[in-house]
């Protein structure tokens, strides 16, 4: 994809001013880092980081039947969501693979659906193809609305003075509508870093004022602009799947270990039979966490061995500052190789490097 065809977020100019290094991601020019991935990671774990996630797809769903309609397309429960609740969900294909993993936000009189940037066009088509006579009205704000996330142990205290509601009343995976620096937003206590924090859905035109305001008012307390590089390390440490890696059209939520989000008691939904068969057979390759013994990082696509037998491949990998600087990874492994404690080897440039299957997540924030 050439630079001409890449879209820009409402915060593009701010990224340039901050020295952000822009790379193509999900059809947008996105900052992969500013000062450096490790410095940004440290800010989020110990203070707070500010992310531009405006590449994510934002769709608004309206109509009386939204919840019932969407139940048939997703694996998690929707109708049971309380007002202003947020819930992780997955749209599956008929074979049980994942079209996308998403979050539904139940707002007053409408629903916000946030999808992955790289899947936004696919998901928009899928939703429209299923509207039929459901009466559901779909509106895309992809590329129009911005999404700014502030994440880290100090993030709520930094955000509070600029918001017209009491943030302590907004519980984890709930949201509210409020103004931030006087701008209308949907404020959600969700994130993808393993830390406390909020995600702010806002009109693109209003995003620079919020972004610049937070950096102006809180940089002295350690708020750092953070790129997608730090975000990937943070989510991997926190055991969160990334679509295209741990979850794909071929890797189902059952294989990805996301059965907590799978509600088999729901009536028919796309992929239910295939997922039921996977659960029943229990022979499927599955995603497991690995810790490398040595200093060579495991990277996506590297082969994993048990003795002479190839048992799978790495799906994500990184040095993990919050795991003692060890190299951690996820791998899609055959069932017998995926048990916690199993000693395996990862092939890196022709040489074998020891790894152990571990329980995930490897990082949990201190309560």
């Amino acid at each position: 994809m050439t630079a001409e065809t890449l879209k820009r977020t409402a915060l593009h100019d701010e990224h340039l001013k901050l020295g952000g290094r822009l790379v193509p991601f999900g059809g947008f020019e996105m900052p992969v880092q500013y000062a450096g991935i490790l410095k940004e990671h440290d800010a989020v774990r110990n203070r707070a980081g500010l992310f531009d996630l405006s590449h994510m797809g934002q769709f608004v769903l309206e109509g009386e039947n939204v919840a019932r309609w969407a139940e048939g397309l997703t694996i998690n429960a929707i109708e049971s969501m309380k007002p202003l609740q947020a819930r992780y969900n997955i749209f599956c294909n008929a074979a049980g693979g994942a079209h996308d993993d998403v979050i539904f936000y139940r707002l007053d009189g409408r629903w916000l659906l946030v999808v992955n940037a790289g899947n936004a066009d696919k998901m928009w088509s899928l939703l429209n193809a299923h509207v039929g006579d459901s009466g559901v009205k779909l509106t895309s704000y992809h590329g129009k609305n911005a999404l700014v996330a502030i994440q880290g142990p100090k993030s709520v205290a930094m955000l509070q003075p600029h918001v017209d509601v009491d943030l302590s009343a907004v519980k984890y995976y709930f949201c509210t509508e409020a103004t931030v620096y006087g701008k209308k937003t949907v404020l959600a206590r969700t994130g993808y870093t393993g830390e406390d924090g909020f995600e702010l859905f806002v009109d693109g035109a209003d995003a620079p004022e919020i972004w610049n305001g937070l950096l102006r008012d809180h940089s002295a307390e350690g708020l750092e602009p953070c790129g997608l590089g730090a975000r990937d390390v943070l989510r991997l440490e926190a055991g969160m799947p990334l679509y295209g890696h741990e979850l794909t059209e071929e890797i189902s939520p059952v294989q990805a270990g996301l059965t907590w989000a799978l509600k088999m008691a729901k009536p028919a939904f796309t992929g239910k039979d295939a997922l039921a068969a996977q659960l029943e057979g229990d022979t499927f390759p599955r995603i497991a966490g690995l810790v490398m013994a040595g200093r060579a990082p495991a990277r996506e696509g590297y082969k994993v061995f048990s003795g002479d037998r190839e048992v799978g491949e790495i799906r994500s990998g990184s040095m993990a500052p919050s795991c003692g600087g060890k190299n951690i990874a996820t791998a899609l492994l055959s069932k017998d190789a995926a048990t916690v404690g199993t000693e395996l080897e990862v092939e890196i440039r022709g040489a074998r490097h020891a790894a152990t299957v571990v329980t995930t997540p490897l990082y949990k924030r201190p309560k």
Binding site: I37, G229, R295, A296, P297, M319, R349
Partner: protein
């Protein structure tokens, strides 16, 4: 960081300092470490390995990416910087001093003719 004027440079962003005894010390430039970002792992050639000028002799890995490492001079690997095993971030902090990568012996000085001097390298990285 100002560019040391007594070094020679490759277009692959390595620097080399050739001593009178035919031993060359090799590292990556400040420009290179900045482009790579936080360096977390370095795989260096084995001592005794015979290497060709501009040949691939290892890898440098940042948090996000694996990059090939080339040698700006041909010769025999005489020594590698073992301190990088414990802390490769010194490559980011001190690329021209403590962050040296390896030493090559039996290096003929005419190889420097295939490399850039400081002024030419400065021009290359300013483009």
């Amino acid at each position: 960081m100002s560019l040391p004027q007594d070094l020679h440079f490759s277009k692959d962003h390595e620097w080399v300092k050739l001593d009178d005894d035919g031993v060359a010390t090799v590292g990556i430039t400040d420009y290179a470490q900045h482009s790579l970002g936080d360096i977390v792992y370095v795989e260096l050639p084995k001592v005794g390995a015979v290497v060709a000028q501009h040949g691939n002799v290892g890898v440098i890995e940042s948090v996000k990416a694996v990059s090939d490492l080339f040698t700006p001079v041909a010769g025999v690997i005489a020594e590698v910087n073992g301190a990088l095993d414990a802390d490769s971030s010194v490559l980011n902090r001190e690329p021209y001093t403590d962050g040296w990568l390896f030493k090559v012996k039996d290096v003929s000085s005419d190889q420097l003719d295939n490399l850039l001097d400081a002024a030419a390298y400065e021009k290359l990285t300013a483009e």
